[in-house]
Subunit: 339 residues, 2 copies
DNA sequence: CTGAAAGCGCTTACAG
DNA sequence: CTGAAAGCGCTTACAG
């Protein structure tokens, strides 16, 4: 394989200028169709590869998108973000962009150091995967490069974000329980911990309101302390017929805890949760959960990013992506005849 | 934030040339310490960011490493490769390199299309994460860019690779079972399916040989067909006291199958496996497994890659990274007094 | 220690 | 349709 073929070399072969070769290869007007075809063919044969550094230097576009993720999110091998990561890479690639990944260390986050891919001008835009410290996120207000937050948002920010519709998801899955005849429904999760748990809880509450079911805090239990550290799961003061758990992992643990107390799912108690992660399929029984449509979220975030790159000062605010219920075996139908 | 500060701008402020600024910022000799310090300070204040496209154009080094992974490996949300991916990114970043990720679609693999990051000269080297089709891998023989295979190797290849020492791992964990008094030991896995299963099996066999335990194929069962598709797990013709499973996921499934037959782990039967993935911790009981030292493998592969970039024609062949046993609760000690 | 000059491989605006 | 010229922002080899 030839090491370095340049446009100039190809131009010499055809006795034309490199300008013509550039136009031919980039599908720009100003070359006859025939010549264009010949040049493209020859370039391919010669193993021509464009020098994107030279292109970037001229055009000020790197055709790279940076993806920043905090180290703590990838320590968990079952992290939801890995899937996002993979899909982002694939989708960007289809659009002619490469994905540069960088992990943000605790140190860099605390010291407010911007990522290397930014300070070396390697990327045209930045996608922030998962919530970071407020101070760090503030760096991106009025930033000199397009930035989109993925899977979280912060209040009073002018940075665009793409998030799941947690509120609606909570509403939806609780409605489903009600439609199966459940009226005593609990919630598992610390509702003061993250905005995503809070929104899911509020959706759950909305469903109760709409169905004229009074909320009963005796059915509700916490799953973590205010610092986000998981705590031991307990039975509520009174037992409901169903629980809405704030995510699959908690649901998985909750089922194990119930089993220890001799309570079988879904015979004695129904469980639903959110995220459609590996925990929902590995659980016994497999859990009815809310799928977050990662694919759709990724499509949306890349589309927004490319628009922002081309029209810098437009704002998209908070974009909600809808979700859908995946029905598995953790919910009992109380309305069916064969109880 | 100022959009575009160049070396020239900084040079004008100090009434020196951009050459001096370049030397100062890059810690190259030829500038007085005092001036260097002043320039660096000022550059920081002005928000100077190097234009790596310009640097690349001159030096022919992008300071990007490409990581190629087949789409099929990231479809499984619990894929072992995600962790590798994350660590690679972190380690490369520490060394001043950015990681460009690209997924290889089935189509591109079949049509032998090289990755975009290569054909646009965006990377200085390529790490291939996980085995690809032979034909595709053949593209990298005598390639015009450093390439390292990660977690697999192919025979008769001159491409360097970094792999776990599967043979030794199998040997080691089987030795452990023997030391706990087990002599009837089975193996779970199709030994004709992948080189990694085969190597683990051969390590297991070596331990038996060394301990003068005749191998008994009646203790062994398959876990997948020759195409790699998982099949239903069954009990062997005779029951051993322990099984070496070729990976955690299989072990997880095998324990579930044993439970269905009323066989309890580790009371009635011991289980060990490989990889230390989420399946080994989620299992009940948690499984004693072989940890693959991802961190070490990543350190090795990046070190090799950087060496190859700097000294292109040196060869490192197959580098084996050792592993270690993580003891959990799935093995019964047959030698202890309190049986 | 410092700098003038050349040049990396493209793209763009303009002229013919 | 085609090309000469300029220039993107650096680095390097060399001269002073």
């Amino acid at each position: 394989m030839k090491e370095n073929v340049s446009m100039n070399e190809i131009a010499n072969i055809f006795k034309v200028s490199k300008v013509t070769v550039s136009k031919a290869l980039n599908d720009k007007p100003g070359v006859s169709d025939e010549l264009r075809k010949e040049i493209k063919k020859r370039a391919e044969q010669m193993g021509y590869r464009i020098n994107s550094a030279a292109r970037s230097l001229k055009t000020n576009k790197a055709f790279n998108i940076g993806i920043l993720i905090a180290e703590r999110f990838i320590e968990d091998p079952a992290s939801y973000y890995f899937g996002v990561w993979g899909k982002l890479t694939t989708v960007l690639s289809d659009l002619g962009y490469s994905a540069i990944m960088e992990t943000l260390t605790v140190k860099n986050e605390n010291e407010l150091n911007l990522p290397m891919m930014y300070s070396e001008r390697k990327v045209d835009g930045l996608i922030i995967l998962g919530q970071l410290k407020k101070d760090y996120l503030n760096l991106f207000e009025n930033f000199d490069m397009p930035v989109v937050f993925f899977d979280f948002y912060i209040k009073d920010s002018n940075v665009d974000s793409v998030v799941i519709d947690n509120f609606y998801s909570g509403y939806q899955i609780t409605n489903m329980l009600v439609s199966k005849g459940h009226t005593r429904i609990g919630f598992v999760g610390n509702i003061y911990s993250t905005s995503s748990i809070q929104d899911r809880f509020l959706g759950y509450y909305r469903s109760l309101l709409e169905n004229k079911i009074p909320i009963n805090y005796d059915y509700c239990v916490s799953d973590r302390n205010d610092d986000g550290q998981l705590i031991e799961l307990t039975l509520p003061k009174q037992m409901p017929t169903a629980f809405v758990c704030n995510n699959d992992q908690v649901a998985y643990r909750y089922i194990q805890m119930l089993n220890k107390h001799g309570i079988k799912v879904p015979i004695d108690c129904s469980i639903v949760s959110f995220d459609n992660t590996i925990f929902s399929t590995l659980s016994n029984p497999p859990i009815t959960t809310v799928d977050t449509h990662v694919e759709e979220m990724v499509n949306v975030v890349t589309k927004v990013m490319l628009k922002k790159i081309n029209v810098p000062n437009k704002s998209y605010n908070r974009i909600l992506v809808k979700s859908s219920i995946i029905v598995r075996d953790s919910v009992k139908d109380l309305t069916s005849k064969n109880i």
